[in-house]
């Protein structure tokens, strides 16, 4: 009985990190993974070494698996799930978050909830080896608990740039143990990306002035700066008519009239939620815009799958090309 208080006290308060891992190694890996854009290839190397040290340093933890079978994987973030599917490693997926909607098979995996409200016990119940998550997933405590249970947690940043796709594919390759396939996929995507960008940059006509609207239930929101939508419009060779604020805001009739967009880009899901194109144009705020006057031309309302358009995943080159094609007709 005397052993009781001692053994209970020996449980470190923060999960059992200090009891198992070397915190230094864990920190190093976390940093290397969290800021890959600055680090480039050497950073990745350091990250890889760090991760290897981390795994090696873990004394046969209950949940980690030292590579005898394919790693069990949980992805948190639709584009990460897409990348795992693109590598053909979907059999390794034991759970995905609620934003993982594409491809359709991803919806059949157990759902771990919304990315910012993960449950530690829920995740551990799926007995993962790796959790691959977009930065901002959490709560942070849950990620800490995952790490202390011996699960490798990789966070992938979103900066709304081409590098996001590269980081996503690389991370998926590392997590699934399919580095070679990831390199090949990355090469293909890169090729397509370079072609599309060259075509967009070669286009000399006026840049169309475009408004991005999201209406996934509730009142429609328009995209300001520092959004994935803003980045995509810019990449596709258009100007976002909203430059006065960051993030998404509700649209007002007067500001729509002042913004005077030539065309509108939205998500397929928004159109479905609103009830089709004609219902979409019935919003009174839009009736004062140049785009509204040409609404019957069929060329001024473009829509794309939300995850493809805003996820910065493997479908980026493809969706960018389609967006550019559509905008050319404006």
């Amino acid at each position: 009985m005397k052993a009781a208080p001692r053994s209970l006290r020996s449980l470190p308060p923060e999960g059992c990190l200090s009891g198992f891992a070397r915190p230094g190694a864990a920190d190093m890996t976390a940093k290397a993974i969290a800021a890959p854009a600055h680090l480039g290839r050497r950073g990745w190397l350091a990250g890889g070494v760090g991760a290897a040290a981390l795994l090696a340093g873990w004394p046969r933890s209950a949940l980690a698996n030292p590579g005898t079978r394919p790693a069990r994987l949980i992805t948190v973030g639709g584009s990460l799930t897409e990348a795992v599917f693109a590598l053909g490693a979907e059999a390794q997926l034991v759970g995905t978050d609620t934003t993982s909607l594409y491809p359709a098979a991803a919806q059949q995996t157990p759902k771990v909830g919304y990315m910012r409200q993960l449950s530690a016990e829920g995740l551990l119940a799926l007995r993962p080896d790796v959790v691959l998550a977009l930065a901002g997933s959490g709560p942070p405590l849950v990620l800490t608990q995952m790490r202390s249970a011996g699960v490798r947690v990789e966070l992938i940043e979103r900066r709304h740039e081409w590098d996001d796709v590269r980081r996503t594919v690389q991370a998926a390759g590392r997590a699934t143990g399919r580095e070679a396939a990831a390199l090949e996929l990355q090469r293909q995507l890169e090729q397509r990306w370079v072609t599309v960008r060259a075509r967009i940059q070669a286009h000399t006509g006026a840049r169309p002035r475009v408004l991005f609207i999201m209406a996934h239930g509730g009142s429609p929101l328009v995209a300001g700066r520092q959004t994935a939508a803003h980045a995509m419009l810019t990449l596709a060779g258009a100007d976002n008519v909203i430059s006065g604020f960051n993030g998404f805001r509700p649209m007002t009739a007067e500001s729509m009239a002042a913004a005077a967009p030539d065309a509108i880009v939205t998500t397929t899901q928004s159109l479905q939620a609103v009830g089709g194109e004609s219902a979409f144009w019935r919003r009174p705020e839009l009736s004062l815009t140049p785009a509204w006057r040409r609404r019957h031309s069929g060329a001024v309302l473009l829509h794309q799958d939300a995850l493809a358009l805003l996820g910065f995943g493997p479908r980026l080159p493809q969706v960018l090309e389609q967006l550019h094609q559509g905008l050319l007709r404006v």
């Binding site: 053994s7 308060p13 059992c16 909830g113 449950s119 829920g122 551990l124 119940a125 249970a149 993030g247």
Partner: protein
């Protein structure tokens, strides 16, 4: 004739009311049973019958710790302890507030501690990233907990100060000031959520819905200690609160230091609810419902209402959280949704029942 019969049966029921200690015993038993049951609930397959083995292996540790041990001692157990502490604290605070205001509508949020904590949390989540971009601000992180606690304390102090008058604290003014300040805090939260980015909005939203997911041992010990000390202090207030139920003047004549009693009630509530809310976000309805149920069972005597509310509050939160973390596993529902979703209809049913006429 009919009403007379009803009155008679009501009186008969009153005389048959179970004694206070019996009710307390039953509530304590219910809490223990829920605690044992809840410790076998969770997404991770770790049922009750395997727990003895897990506990034994913790007492006599082997070289290797099993996954079940990790899950139980680092994830599930702190949650259970937090559920007991938070539920007990909220129930107790609710009973104190209803005793202080002599109003069954009162709940701990009334003195502004919850809304103050929420406003401060919203402030930290939305504007914090401007000043400290490196500090993570989500449910269960230290800076956010500290901000929320301070926010609760400041707003409570403000409402208390507003209610201070010549002859002491005017409880009626405190009630009205509480409602007004709560509305103001709501507006502030609305403004901040308008300014928030999508990510901040989600963090804020989950904070407002409450969750025990932020249970880590360091925080759990603090909350448990505060709840325990407050409970011990609050139990000494039972007789003075019974006297206060007769009216302030009567209580003063009975020798109760009424002003000190009011201050103590407010201080205890602010402390315990502030600590809980900072750790879990807002968990509604426990503070309102628990004292009511205990009063229906054991009568209005604060000697039973105060400890009974604590026991019942703990039971309710234990059960609600067990449900929250299993019903859509491996994901989990915010706890505040469940306490409201289950608590409110149950409460309404209770109000409609014949027993409610003794309120």
């Amino acid at each position: 004739m009919n009403t007379l019969a009803l009155k008679r049966s009501g009186a008969a029921w009153l005389s048959q009311r179970p004694s206070g200690p019996a009710v307390l015993g039953a509530l304590a038993l219910a809490m223990l049973l829920s605690l044992v049951w809840a410790s076998g609930q969770g997404a991770f397959g770790l049922p009750l019958r395997e727990l003895p083995a897990v506990l034994a292996s913790a007492l006599w540790p082997s070289a290797e710790r099993s996954a079940a041990e990790l899950v139980f001692f680092n994830i599930r157990l702190p949650r259970l302890v937090l559920a007991v502490a938070a539920g007990a604290g909220l129930g107790l605070a609710g009973a104190l507030m209803q005793g202080l205001f002599r109003n069954p509508l009162a709940d701990p949020g009334l003195i502004g501690v919850s809304s103050g904590a929420a406003l401060a949390a919203a402030f930290a989540i939305v504007l914090g990233s401007l000043w400290w971009p490196e500090v993570p601000l989500a449910l269960g992180t230290w800076p956010l907990m500290l901000m929320a606690f301070l926010g609760g304390a400041v707003v409570t102090a403000l409402i208390y100060a507003l209610a201070l008058g010549e002859g002491g604290t005017r409880v009626g003014i405190m009630l009205l000031a509480g409602i007004a300040i709560n509305a103001l805090a709501g507006a502030g939260i609305g403004l901040l959520s308008y300014l928030a980015t999508d990510e901040q909005l989600r963090n804020l939203q989950f904070w407002m819905l409450g969750s025990l997911g932020g249970a880590r041992w360091e925080a759990v010990w603090v909350v448990a200690l505060i709840a325990l000390l407050s409970a011990l202090l609050a139990l000494r207030l039972a007789r003075p609160l019974n006297a206060l139920a007769l009216g302030e003047a009567q209580a003063t004549m009975l020798g109760v230091p009424v002003e000190r009693l009011k201050l103590l009630c407010v201080l205890l509530t602010a402390l315990v609810v502030g600590a809980i809310t900072a750790t879990t976000g807002i968990i509604g309805f426990i503070g309102l419902v628990a004292p009511h149920i205990v009063r229906l069972l054991a009568g209005p005597d604060h000697r039973w209402v105060l400890p009974g509310s604590a026991l019942l509050g703990a039971t309710l939160v234990l059960l609600a959280d067990a449900w929250a973390r299993t019903v859509i596993a491996p994901a989990e529902l915010p706890l505040g949704i469940i306490t409201a979703l289950v608590g409110v209809p149950f409460f309404l049913l209770l109000l409609r029942s014949a027993h409610a006429r003794t309120l």
